[in-house]
Symmetry: C2
Subunit: 467 residues, 2 copies
C-alpha cells in the first residue's frame, strides 16, 4: 500500500524552488563565462486595488538567500531527469553555489507605489537571477496580503480586525504567511494557532457551529461554554435564529454577572449584518449588557466594512477570512475584479562590464523598463506627511529627501538588523499616519506623485528615441 | 543581530494547524464528556466558475490525519499563551490524541458538483471536528486549481498546457500544490523544479529575458543557447521586437539544421498573441521551418485560450501562470469576478447518541444544511456518459448507479490504496470524456442534475416544516 504524501517543503528543498528556465538560462551563462555584475529590481507595474503597496516579505527572502544549497541528491536527480544536458561542469558549479552579492530593500511595512523598486539585487549574473522565482513568490504574496489588510484596518479605524482565512488560503504556507503579513499591516491577530506560535502573535477564537448543534439546545451550549471559560466567553448566536440567539446570550450574560464575571461578546456570522447588529445591540442594551461587544464575520472585506460603518452599525470588531487571506481583487459593490495576485516582477536594469555601466531595457509591448539601478527618495511636507517620491539613479544625490532602500546584504554578508514583527507593525502604522487621506480612499484614490530625477528623465528620452 | 526566519511548516507543526476555535470548542466537549459519534461532510455550496469541480487534495488530507501529534512543547506553549484556560486534563487529552474514526471520500480527479459531499468523516466529535481547518485548506485550494486547470485543458484540446505560476502563487506551498493539482487535472507539466521533483512530474523551461538582455545582441543570445542545448532549443522572441526575434530564430533554426538538429520552438510572451502567432507562423513556414512550434504565455486563462483558438491562432502550446496558480475567479471578457477561492465547507450532518441517529441542521440565513451522512450515486447513460447524480442517505440503496464515496480510513486504519498521480490524472481525463459538453461550456454551462433520494426529500420537507 502506497503511503500518502504530505508534500511539505523543507529548507533543503529550497535550492530547487525555481522555475526551470533559471537553470536552463544559467547553464550557457556558465558555459560562456558571462559572470558580469548585474542589478535586477523587484517592483510592481500597477496595483490591483488602491494607490499604494505595503512592502512585506523581505525577511523570508533573506532567510532563503542564506539557505540555498544544492545538495548532492538534488544534483544527481537533475542530472538524471533534466532533458537539457546539465553536465560539463555546470552541476559542480551549482554544488558550490552561494550568494556573494548585495541586496538592498525597503524595510517591511514601508508604503510604496507602482514602479518603485522595493528590493534590488546586485552581483554576478547567475547568482542574481537564480533568486527570482522564490523572491517573487514571497514578496508578491505577502505584499498583496499586507496591502489588502491595511485597507481594512484603515476603514475599521480603532476596531479590531482579526485574520480568519486559513481554511480558504491557498495552501498551508499561505495560511501561515497571511497571518504574518496581516498582523504586520495592523490586524489584531489570527485564528490560526500555528500562525500565533510561528510569528509570536495573538491568536483568537470563539465557538463553532458544530459545538452548538451538538447540544440539545443553544442555551445549554452557551451555558457549557461560559462555565468552561467564564473569563473569555464570546457566543456565536446565528446557528438557528440570530435574535433568539442574542436573547439566549443575554440569559447567559446575566448568569455570568451573578457569578462576578462578564460576557465578553457575541458573534454574528450570517445574514444582514447591519440590521442584525442594530437589533442585537438594542436587545443587549435593554438587558443591561451594554459592555458586551458585537463581533461580525461573513464574507467581509474593506468595502463591506466601510459600508457597515458608514451606516453606523454598532460593531466592535471584524473577523475577515477569504477576502483577506486570498487578497481578493474584487469589489462586491461593483462586482468588478481581476486576478487575486500582485503582478510584481524582477527585472534586469543594468550590467557592469569592464568597469562600464550598461543600462538594460526591455521593449516588449506594455512592458517597457526604466534602466539603471535605482534609489527611491521620499519627500515630506512640514507636518511630516508624504509629499512626493523621486526615482533616481543609485548614486545620484537628491536633496531634502529620505532614501528608502537600505543595504541588507553586502558581498554576501548580512548588514541589516531585522526588526521584530511588532516593530515592523508599529512602523507600518506610523507610515499610515503620514499618508494623506486622498491616497487611502478605497475607490478613486489619487495617484501618488512619483517623479523621475533629471538624470532618469534624460535617460528615458534617449532610450525611447533609440528604438 | 536577529536571524531572519524562513517560517516553513514542518510535520510536527501540523497538530497546531487549526483555527483556535477548534480547541476552545473542544475543551468543553472534553469537560462534559460529549464524545458522541458524529459525521461531518466536506462540500461546496456553489462553484466560482462553470458547473463542475475536480475533487483534489485527498492524499495530503490523509497524510495529515496520520501526522497529527500534539508534542510536549506545543502543549506547554498552549498552556503558557492561551487566554482561555486549557488546564484540567484537556492538554493531557490532546497529548494522547490520534484519529480513531472513519473517512470516506471520492478518489482524486473525480468530477463533482455543488452540494455533493466529496469527503466525510465519522467518529468521536472532537476528533472529527479538529481536522476541519487543515482539511478545508488543502481540499479547497487543490480542488480550485484542478478545476481551473481542467477548464483550460478542455479548451486547449490536444495542445500542451504548462503550469507557470510559481512566482504569483500564494506562498511557497501554493506553488508546490498548484504543480500537483494542475498536473492531476491534465496539465503537461510545471515550470517549478521542486514541483517536478516532489511529485515526479515533467518540469519544463526555456529562456528568460535577462539572458537575452545580458548579451550584445538577441541573435548572439539565441546562438549561445542553441549551442548549449542543440536538442532542446525553444527561443523567447519578444525581448525587443517580436517579429525581428522570429527572424533571428529562423537564422538559428537554419544553423541548427545544418548541424543535424532541429529548433524545437519559439515563445511569444507579450503583445497581440493572435496577430503575432499568425505572423510568426508565416515567417517560420516561409523559412522552411514548418516543424518549429509556437508556444505562448502572458496573462492566459481558459477564456483567452478559447478566444485564440476560435480565431485559428496557430499555437501549439500554452504557458499559464497567474490565473492558473491562483485559480483566478475572473472573466477578462466581461471583467466580472469574485474572490479566487473555493468556498468549501465542512459541516456537522448527524450525531449518534445512545444508538439513535439524530439529524443535524443549521438554519443560518443562506446556509441551510441537508442533514444525515450521505452517499453520492452516479447514473450513466448507455454510452457511459454522466446522466444524473442522486444524493442519498449513506445506507440507502440506489439501484443502477455507482457509489462515489469510498472508504479511505476505517477505525483509524488506512483501507485505501492510493493511486499514483499519473493514475489519478488518467482517471480524471477519462471522467472528462464521460461528461457531456453542455456541462463543460466556459460560460452558461448547464447545471448538472443532482437529485435527492425519496428519503432525503422526505427529511428535507420535515426539517423545513419544523422551523
Amino acid at each position: 500500500m502506497r503511503q500518502p504524501k504530505l508534500g511539505l517543503l523543507t529548507k533543503s528543498d529550497l535550492a530547487l524552488f525555481l522555475d526551470y528556465y533559471e537553470l536552463t538560462s544559467a547553464k550557457p551563462d556558465f558555459a560562456y563565462g558571462k559572470q558580469a555584475t548585474v542589478t535586477e529590481e523587484y517592483f510592481v507595474r500597477s496595483v490591483p486595488f488602491g494607490s499604494y503597496l505595503v512592502a512585506t516579505g523581505l525577511e523570508q527572502v533573506i532567510a532563503f538567500v542564506f539557505s540555498i544549497k544544492f545538495e548532492e541528491k538534488d544534483l544527481g536527480w537533475l542530472e538524471a531527469t533534466s532533458t537539457p544536458d546539465f553536465r560539463n561542469g555546470f552541476l559542480d558549479f551549482l554544488k558550490e553555489f552561494s550568494f556573494s552579492g548585495d541586496i538592498q530593500a525597503v524595510p517591511e511595512g514601508t508604503i510604496m507605489f507602482p514602479r518603485e523598486p522595493m528590493l534590488s539585487v546586485t552581483g554576478p549574473a547567475i547568482e542574481v537571477q537564480i533568486l527570482e522565482t522564490y523572491l517573487l513568490n514571497v514578496m508578491n504574496f505577502q505584499t498583496l496580503i499586507a496591502t489588502k489588510t491595511a485597507r481594512m484596518v484603515d476603514v475599521a479605524q480603532d476596531r479590531t480586525v482579526v485574520e480568519f482565512g486559513a481554511r480558504r488560503a491557498h495552501g498551508r504556507d499561505a495560511a501561515l504567511l497571511a497571518a504574518r503579513a496581516s498582523y504586520l499591516a495592523g490586524a489584531t491577530g489570527t485564528s490560526l494557532v500555528i500562525g500565533g506560535k510561528m510569528w509570536d502573535i495573538p491568536y483568537i477564537g470563539t465557538i463553532h457551529h458544530a459545538f452548538i448543534q451538538n447540544r440539545p439546545s443553544e442555551l445549554q451550549a452557551f451555558r457549557e461554554y461560559a462555565e468552561c471559560f467564564p473569563h473569555n466567553t464570546i457566543l456565536l448566536v446565528d446557528t438557528y435564529d440570530t435574535l433568539e440567539g442574542v436573547r439566549n446570550a443575554c440569559i447567559v450574560g446575566h448568569e455570568l454577572k451573578s457569578r462576578g464575571f462578564e460576557l465578553q461578546g457575541i458573534r454574528l456570522d450570517s445574514g444582514n449584518l447591519l440590521a442584525l447588529s442594530i437589533a442585537a445591540r438594542k436587545i443587549l442594551d435593554e438587558a443591561g449588557l451594554e459592555g458586551v461587544k458585537i463581533f461580525v464575520s461573513s464574507d467581509l472585506d474593506e468595502y463591506r466594512i466601510q459600508e457597515l460603518l458608514k451606516a453606523n452599525a454598532p460593531i466592535d470588531g471584524f473577523g475577515v477570512g477569504t477576502r483577506l487571506a486570498t487578497g481578493a481583487n474584487y469589489n462586491p459593490l461593483t462586482r468588478e475584479g481581476g486576478p487575486s495576485a500582485l503582478p510584481g516582477v524582477y527585472k534586469l536594469v543594468e550590467r557592469v562590464e569592464d568597469g562600464k555601466i550598461i543600462p538594460k531595457v526591455k521593449l516588449s509591448p506594455g512592458k517597457v523598463l526604466l534602466p539603471f539601478r535605482k534609489q527611491v527618495y521620499r519627500h515630506y511636507n512640514r507636518k511630516g506627511q508624504f509629499r512626493q517620491d523621486t526615482l533616481a539613479r543609485w548614486d545620484e544625490r537628491v536633496p531634502d529627501a529620505e532614501s528608502l532602500l537600505l543595504p541588507i546584504i553586502q558581498q554576501g554578508q548580512m548588514v541589516y538588523d531585522f526588526p521584530s514583527l511588532n516593530e515592523s507593525r508599529s512602523y507600518c502604522r506610523e507610515q499610515f499616519r503620514r499618508l494623506p487621506k486622498r491616497y487611502r480612499r478605497l475607490t478613486n484614490a489619487s495617484a501618488y506623485p512619483v517623479k523621475l530625477s533629471p538624470e532618469l528623465v534624460r535617460i528615458k528620452r534617449k532610450t525611447l528615441r533609440k528604438r
